[in-house]
Symmetry: D2
Subunit: 408 residues, 4 copies
């Protein structure tokens, strides 16, 4: 498939309507034209014109309603529209501490392949990352008899301070370099458009599309991995801040002149709850065998804490209290409908404990109305990757719709 | 003028277009129909129909472009539209610790009367507040030869936890009662629709409409009065949270197990920077004459701090450090384009000091991009009242537009 | 009785032996000369000479052993020595927040009169204090048919920073003036020698002589009244520091940049546990009726805390945690055999709670040896006064023994 | 020389006088009998008898006054007494993190040999320590043509919680085992009596005998090495606490729920100022090359801090503030005449800075009297070892004097 070109120009009103239509079809699964007109407030005539373009472009197809199969042509009024799954193949990649995870999805959002590969080092150069991503995409597409060139769009999520609009990485714990125009660099090395974002924002997107936040307009996702991430969704949109530097929950200060963070500042939440913060306490007071890995030492800490060893418990307990205080601050500022604590590792149970939930309730502003729901959602890197794929799907749809407009 | 009725039904697409048109005319001052069509993306025919309704309803009038006066009828292409100032008289009231301030504005937003009256007590019953508000409106309208019945809408801002959409006061330091349906109560006592909001949100609105935030889509206003307030504007809209309980900046926690707040929780920012927090430290360590007022004692504190008295300086210095830490947290979460520190009192200079601004810069996430601009805007209760009037103007426009739709 | 003169010269070795003998007789009640020689390591001949002087001076008398009555003269080996109770009448006064308490004791330490009088104000001038003390002594002696002139020595304990050796008050919460040579001032106004000390040191003396610390050489007494006091006994002697400014437990810092103390510094223990510290939190978060007394408001706080009211409990709980931390620090520095928590008021139960005791155990250096015993001793001002009387008894004995030496 | 036996029985009065006489001769250098009688208050006849015993036992010899040489026998009135340097050879050992340092002194206190050897590991077994000490003593005595058997007594100082009276090590960072009867173990392995103490107490003794505290009765020494140590001298005697667990300055708490200490508790001073505390902050925020030694990384930190690097400065600055707070607490409790900050390493300058001294002054109780003098004394392990030798000298004198008593 010919590469979709970015930057054709600004979306006009008709573009917005087209995007709205695709989005509506995707969330509905299948839907009749008349219902599309009703939901969007656009005239049925316009909807008919727009969807005709989409069918011709191969993005959309007609189905007999209720069957999920392409319409046989009989019974016009019962004809609905659905997305054509094979219209585009999309990839989502999550860059983790030690691994790359990829998910391939079709244009309907159905997962068609998943793959995980070790990352050559915890921190790599941007160029090396591009090479490793290309190899991973090659391996994943090979599983389904396709090639990297068949992918219409790639979403990439990584930790750090990332300006998603500009495709620019201010800083990432996964990269050896700072201030990298990573999207351009990846697009130069790969045959498809690339959509880059902070990984927590992609978790937010995944939660919104196929997780705990379906149907919720205002919610916050907090993620725990090596550090603490946050995705904010306001009125259905991921909130990104002005410079792409917002949602830095891990670096909100919870103690004046407090513990030193790896960012060089004092009192950051991460300096109390991130893995390195737990380890520097554990290493001093519960010295393990020299040379054992950080992961092993963390696991020993968690086991000891669960077994009631006082020092280990003191370490996880203080982290939990600080975490609760930070979460309560988010609720006090945003008053969201829903707060999702999202993480892959069962080991961090202490951060999702009843104690934390109770502390949040105690520290939010007390009114005669129920506090926000707090949901705990444990999942793995594949779900992060799926969020990245969803992000790519949005981006590709946007590009495809703009091309429709040009061709129209 | 007949009372505009609330709750006629949900706005449909055409309503939204009408509101958009009024809003565009208001911000432009005057504007030709063809420019309205271009800016809104709505067809010129529709714009012509909509504005005709408005002219007939007396909301809008034609002017000769560039003159600001009603059009003489010659030279059709040069005819523009403007709002009719005398279409509606609107009132905005700010409920302060000891005073009520009112501003009357016409439908163009021009101030036509201002008035201040002492409040009978720092905390009053909702019923008493209604009586005092009515008396104030009577006095203010009398100045311009009108009566309370001539007011089309009233905006009221007060401190506290307020659900603006529901018109409900969870809690306010100005009221003796909690959980009050204050909007309904005021509307029962007054002849016009009432629009109620947290006062800091109204400052945000005022900053947006005629203050430091004109043209800025994402900004935060932090206000200092008796307590600490915050208004968040995201993508041009005041963000209110799910239960109307968001933006509780004063109750974000800055210290685990810290100083006790009057809300009953520990470590709230207010427990370090609010007047009561400063006073409880000053009263213990620098005892003044018994019986002197809180205001006098605060002023003595501020004078002593400025004169370099060590204990007084220690009090204001710690408040400043905590305040900076709280503000840095806001920047770390929102990454706004602009942060406005807004307050009426020169005495709180230490909270707007270079030291605070430097501390914010040191405590935000460091990237190779300039941090948000921080502006300091000192103003008085009249500006808060003007924000309340602007809020009423929006509400009245909304109601008027809906009536057009019904009449249409 | 002729006034005993101070400052006759330094004690020589023989003086020390005489003091040792009196002290031994007092603690034994009655004791044979041969046992005195054995206990002191002084030759029986010297003991016989010394005690003969004392009998002639009227300080000591012979008793038939086991009877407690003066010896009849028969059965020389059975003769013991005891102090002559009527040798001296001694007074001890405790200056409290609102009251003066006096105890009169005879030279054996038996209480012969007690009296309490209101103090004219919480803080008085040194001159006024002298007048009130004289009146109180007059009233107390009148009860037993004696006069102020019959008192051989007066011990006075008051809170503050006091150089006991110099009889100098650096600062006291009971006095309107600072830097007062209070002992000289009282001696000029009264007919007997005066022995002045910090009240907590006198509690330590009382505990040592007739309280919980009998027979213990190394212990610490911590007192809770308006503020926090401490008396340190090392090797049987009250430790006073170089300038009389030691044992300022209440002003040890428990938090960097912490709560403001009335001394003007930050983070002092008193700023978390003293009455004023509890009240400034209670007044903000649980406002009572204006104008009620501090005592009433404190009592309401304590009742509410005991009833489980969360904010009240938060106030006393934090005070208790800080108190435990301060006490653990004392143990970590001194490793005393015994720690006595001594206070008059049942209301401060939360500071003597099992929670505090457990926290101390958790925060002292852990070794395979039992931690110091912690005893809780609740008593009233009369016991403080008795400590003051004991202090006077020591001082008078010292003067009397020196006179013996001169006369010898 | 025959081994001096410990535990012959309690000292009686005459023993105490003999010890007093030796001590007086040692501090005077040389002194006439008549002056000894005057200073001790003991009769000249007794002094003559006692010193005759000592001359016969070889501890003391006569000198012509002013010459320092043995008296020629002429001019009786001019004859003084001095200690016989060759009466006993004494050894002092300091166990450091990586080295053993020894000083050999004669009975007059003159250093006759010094030696340093690497320790086989930072932590060794008690048995291994005995072997390494014996080897070191053999090497040091060989230098002066003597053997281990010629040493009359050995003082050993090591860090940790040590009951000096019982010769028992509760815990030491230098030993792999806890709860060790180390004195008995060393005496079983060596031919001389051993005197064991906490190293900071030996520094206190060294300061008192030949350092900054000569002639001061009440002072505190704080030492900085791997951790923080303290020696307290009250009325001329090292204060040891009841269980030998006092003076644990490094484990006084300076922050409730603060940083985790290697002792397993939170908020200990050491958790902010000890090497490991500085390193765990430096390692997280200023990662150095993997595999470099702790010492190298510390040095890099100190250099960076001195060069003004913000994160490094933040690390040392916070340590300095906490250290000052801890020191102010010591002054507030003890009010000593003198506070000595004693350490070997120039690198810890930030703990002895003007900033720290100013902070101490600001945080002690303010009275109209000068605060304690603070002296900074930088020295090396040899001085610690000399303190250990002085301790051995005291112990050997004690044993020698008791033998005199038995022989008498």
């Amino acid at each position: 498939m010919a590469r979709l070109e970015r930057g054709i120009g600004c979306a006009d009103t008709r573009d917005k309507t087209r995007q709205q239509v695709v989005s509506l079809i995707r969330s509905a699964g299948q839907i009749a034209r008349i219902d599309i007109a009703a939901e969007t407030g656009v005239s049925p005539a316009t909807i008919t014109a727009i969807t005709q373009e989409m069918i011709q472009a191969g993005l959309v197809e007609e189905v007999a309603p209720g069957t999920g199969r392409p319409a046989s042509g009989r019974g016009r009024p019962r004809v609905s529209l659905k997305l054509r799954g094979d219209a585009h193949l999309l990839a989502g990649i999550k860059v983790s501490f030690r691994t790359l995870s990829v998910v391939l999805v079709d244009f309907e959002g159905t997962s068609v392949a998943e793959h995980v590969a070790p990352l050559s080092a915890p921190r790599v150069s941007p160029e090396a990352l591009a090479v490793e991503i290309r190899a991973l995409l090659a391996a994943a597409t090979a599983e389904i008899g396709q090639t990297v060139d068949d992918i219409s769009g790639l979403g990439v999520g990584l930790a750090g301070t990332i300006d998603a609009i500009a495709g620019f990485v201010h800083w990432s714990p996964s990269l050896t370099a700072s201030n990298v125009a990573l999207r351009d660099l990846l697009e130069a090395a790969l045959p498809m458009p690339v959509f880059l974002d902070n990984d927590a924002n992609l978790v937010a997107k995944a939660e919104q599309l196929f997780g705990e936040a379906r149907g919720v307009r205002d919610f916050i996702v907090v993620t725990i991995e090596q550090g603490v991430g946050m995705g904010i969704v306001i009125d259905g949109e991921v909130y990104r801040g002005t410079r792409g530097c917002g949602a830095e929950f891990g670096h909100t200060k919870v103690h004046l002149d407090g513990a030193l963070c790896r960012c060089g500042q004092r009192g950051c939440l991460e300096a109390y709850v991130a893995d390195y913060a737990l380890l520097r306490e554990a290493d001093v007071s519960m010295p393990g065998e020299a040379g054992s890995s950080a992961e092993d030492r963390l696991n020993r800490l968690f086991l000891a804490a669960r077994a009631g060893e006082p020092t280990a418990h003191s370490i996880t307990h203080r982290a939990a209290r600080m975490f609760a205080m930070g979460l309560a601050n988010l609720v006090n500022i945003f008053d969201p409908r829903l707060l999702i604590l999202s993480g892959e590792r069962m080991s961090h149970d202490f951060l999702y404990s009843d104690e934390v939930l109770a502390a949040i309730r105690d520290e939010v502003v007390q009114v005669d109305a129920p506090p926000p729901e707090v949901k705990i959602h444990k999942w793995g890197d594949q779900m992060w990757a799926k969020g990245a794929a969803a992000y790519a799907m949005e981006g590709v749809t946007d590009l495809a719709v703009r091309r429709l407009a040009i061709d129209a």
